[in-house]
């Protein structure tokens, strides 16, 4: 395999890792006002992701930096093109990130309520906007080669808010919500566990409908493409995962439900990447203007270096992250939440 193709896959896998891991963080944050009946409830919910949300979010930072190193043209064009959408995502991630730590450190209930709002909106906006962004990426964006070299994005924020993009945002939002609900039921006991499961069943129906509609639309947009069979295959696996997760959740098999959602997120994103291939940014103005994997990639030397770095670091990273999840494997109870926080 060409190193450029390998790195297309590695960046893809990193983004999949980000959406799976931070995905349930977002889902947990979205669930906060729906499942938390009192402050102890809300603290149980937040503490399900307490030790891990930071390392989960780091997958985004590493994916972004790897994109910069392996595909500078892609990074430069996409990040300057999606400017305002990324600004909103950054604001949301900043507010959400500090809120976990700060919500209980101030005085009074209105302080805590403000930070709970930040956690909620900071968990709703990023998955929705990422969904919009990746859907538009697959659909093609108004990009043209620039006379200074590289590519220029000729749209605006409104260009992204088309029906297909919005459906992509909605599908991602609903899927990560279910993912988070299943995670809560996997990490709690008693009433909280039951409430999370029941809500997952209801939201799950909406997630299946939106997800299936989005994948179907994606397939229809790529009829005639060489990778169509791969898009169909990945979409089918994603659909099976999503429906399987719903059934498992209904039967109280939380581990299987979580696995199903994980498979669904991974393969839905793979379907998007297959829709891009062999481009990284298809142009909606003229296919000849599209940015190909090779056109976006770094030099052979940089890719070789990055490959060695990835080979040595990623197994270690996966090992110590797995250990963290093992250390914090126990379910949380209301009794484990002391009256005052640390």
């Amino acid at each position: 395999m060409e190193l450029t193709t390998l790195w297309f896959l590695i960046v893809g896998v990193m983004l999949i890792g980000y959406f799976i891991l931070d995905g349930f963080d977002f889902g947990v944050g979205i669930s906060l006002p729906f499942l938390g009946r009192d402050d102890t409830d809300r603290r149980v919910i937040i503490n399900t992701i307490g030790p891990v949300w930071d390392l989960n979010e780091t997958w985004l930072i590493v994916a972004g930096a790897s994109l910069f190193a392996a595909f500078p043209e892609w990074y430069a064009t996409m990040f300057s093109g999606f400017y305002l959408a990324l600004l909103l995502i950054l604001v949301a991630l900043i507010l959400r990130g500090v809120s976990f730590e700060y919500r209980h450190q101030g005085k009074g209930r209105s302080w805590t309520r403000w930070f709970d709002q930040f956690i909620f909106w900071g968990s709703v906006l990023p998955p929705f906007l990422w969904g919009v962004a990746f859907a538009n990426l697959a659909q093609g964006l108004p990009i043209v080669p620039a006379d200074t070299g590289g590519w220029l994005y000729e749209g605006s924020l409104l260009t992204l808010l088309n029906p297909y993009g919005l459906l992509g945002g909605l599908a991602v939002l609903l899927i990560v919500w279910v993912h988070g609900l299943v995670f809560i039921s996997l990490k709690t006991v008693g009433e909280m566990r039951d409430r999370a499961r029941a809500l997952a069943t209801r939201v799950g129906v909406a997630a299946i409908v939106a997800g299936a509609a989005f994948l179907l639309w994606t397939i229809l947009q790529h009829v005639g493409s060489e990778t169509l069979w791969l898009i169909v295959l990945c979409s089918a696996v994603a659909a099976v995962g999503l429906i399987g997760a719903w059934v498992a959740n209904l039967r109280g098999r939380e581990g299987w439900a979580f696995t199903g959602n994980t498979v669904a997120i991974a393969f839905a994103l793979l379907a998007i990447f297959m829709a891009l291939f062999p481009n990284v940014m298809p142009s909606s103005i003229d296919p000849a203007y599209s940015m190909s994997i090779d056109g976006a990639a770094s030099s052979q030397k940089t890719l070789e270096l990055m490959t060695w770095v990835a080979i040595f670091t990623l197994p270690l990273v996966l090992a110590y992250q797995a250990w963290t999840y093992w250390v914090f494997r126990r379910r949380l109870t209301r009794e484990m939440i002391p009256a005052s926080a640390h």
Partner: protein, 489 residues
């Protein structure tokens, strides 16, 4: 190849620069405290594990809590740093991404994952991990912060002194030729210990301030006396480190970016020996043509720049003439500034250089005097404690003006000798979009600064938490129940 820059793109350029300056300086309020405090907390926790004395545990808990409030801000403001290279500086990113991206990706894979994972284990692992494994996690956090500092400084060093690359004419970009050269860039090698020592100075000063506040009120005297002396020693030793590494950095800078050294001294014409004097203070016309008043130390500039007393230092006007010939010839769109000037803004480089040194020196002096005054556990006049409290921000301000000097002194270059800053800005992003994000970040960061400051002060004033121990002894040791150490949000 490049069209003339239009008025609109210049607006976006100025705004993008303001945003980079604002967000980077803001990020660097939290970073040094994270780097420095991680080490000091690790040392305090090690002292507890080794001696079993509860006072070390209580101090670990107190400064650990302040560390976490600060850490959260460092993490979230760091994401902005990575994103804005692509958002505001897309032409820069595509031109040097092949080299500049590699240390960033290595930082993520090697340092960020490490740091983010072990910080979670440290915060929430008190009652879940064996004592020594838990101690290991805070040391790992510190190692992560230090590794991350190295990679990002190596990336920055490439902008100051680009090495290990070739220009690929066909692709129209710079490409990596040696990662060893990039990572062992002399600027990175000297900038790194300078930054780490400066971070330790800040953390040390914060510990001194917290201790002084409590000692003034005669509370937690045993713990706070220990903390005060620990922080003050850290501050003084780190100041020595900052000074020594700063000197090597100055010599590397004179070699790699002579214009920056000339701008630091506002030296307009070549000087050597006694004429290469260092002005502690000066007042003159902005263009340097007439000096009205100054206090000068002969030979010092020569020593700072070259390590000898008879070295020669190049002046701004001489360098300007050299650079015009080198960088403004035919086919030099990337390297010739549109206003033709190769000098940074002199009053900024001149004064930021002096404030950096002065603020750091004052902080170290306060610590030295404090160590002498507190050699016995006696109550001191209230004003002495107040001085110690108000000294805490000085090392932070010194770090910030140090970065203002480093980055403003690099101008007009985004990558020295390779690309000017005005050519690096995103060509497709209109000025109003950058203005929007500048306003959003200013408001958001301003509000968060107030919140963060309030929370840190609140945690500091609360003092070290009570910890009950079984089999307590007279020398203050005893085994705490791990349950009460458990941390939850």
């Amino acid at each position: 190849m490049y069209e003339q820059l239009t008025a609109a793109s210049l607006d976006a350029l100025a705004l993008a620069r303001w945003q980079f300056g604002l967000t980077t300086l803001y990020h660097f309020i939290f970073v040094p405290l994270t780097i420095g405090m991680a080490l000091l907390v690790a040392i305090l926790q090690t002292a507890w594990v080794r001696t079993g004395k509860t006072k070390y545990l209580r101090l670990t808990k107190l400064f650990g809590k302040m560390f976490l409030i600060n850490f959260a801000m460092g993490v979230v403001t760091g994401i902005v740093q990575e994103f804005q290279f692509g958002m505001n500086w897309s032409d820069y990113s595509r031109f040097v991404g092949d080299i500049f991206g590699a240390p960033l990706a290595m930082e993520g894979l090697i340092a960020f994952f490490f740091e983010a994972t072990f910080i979670g284990l440290w915060i929430f692992g008190w009652d879940k991990l064996p004592k020594k494994i838990h101690l290991m996690t805070i040391w790992f956090v510190w190692i992560g912060t230090v590794l991350s500092a190295y990679f990002i400084l190596a990336a920055n060093a490439f902008m100051q002194n680009p090495v290990g690359f070739d220009i690929n004419e066909e692709r129209g970009r710079a490409e990596l030729s040696s990662i060893g050269d990039v990572l062992l860039n002399p600027v990175a090698v000297t900038q790194f210990p300078h930054t780490i020592f400066a971070s330790l100075m800040f953390a040390g000063a914060v510990i001194v301030a917290v201790a002084a506040w409590h000692l003034k009120r005669n509370q937690f005297v045993d713990e706070m006396h220990t903390a005060l002396r620990f922080g003050a020693w850290t501050n003084i030793l780190a100041f020595l480190g900052v000074g020594l590494t700063g000197h090597s950095l100055g010599m590397v800078m004179t070699e790699t970016q002579p214009m920056k050294m000339a701008a630091a001294e506002a030296l307009y014409t070549n000087a050597s020996g006694a004429d290469a004097s260092f002005s502690v203070f000066s007042w003159g016309t902005p263009d340097g043509a007439h000096e009205i008043f100054s206090i000068r130390i002969p030979y010092l500039l020569s020593f700072l720049s070259t390590g000898t007393f008879d070295g020669s230092v190049e002046g701004i006007r001489n360098l300007q003439a050299d650079y015009e010939a080198m960088y403004c010839g035919a086919d030099s769109m990337l390297t010739c500034p549109s206003d033709g000037s190769f000098a940074p803004i002199i009053w900024i480089t001149y004064w930021s250089f002096r404030w950096m040194i002065g603020l750091g020196a004052i902080a170290a002096l306060v610590s030295a005097v404090g160590l002498w005054l507190t050699r016995k556990k006696e109550q001191l006049p209230a004003w002495t404690w107040r001085v110690a409290v108000w000294t805490a921000p000085l090392p932070m301000l010194a770090s910030l003006v140090g970065w203002v000097f480093t980055e403003m002194g690099r101008q007009p270059w985004i990558v020295f000798g390779v690309m000017t800053t005005e050519r690096g800005v995103s060509p497709g992003v209109p000025g109003w979009v950058v203005l929007t994000s500048l306003i959003v970040f200013t408001v958001l960061y301003g509000a968060l600064a107030v919140v963060e400051f309030k929370l840190i002060v609140k945690a500091a004033k609360a003092g070290p938490p009570e910890i009950e121990v079984s089999d307590a002894t007279d020398d203050g040791t005893g085994e705490p129940n791990p349950q009460q150490l458990a941390t939850v949000y």
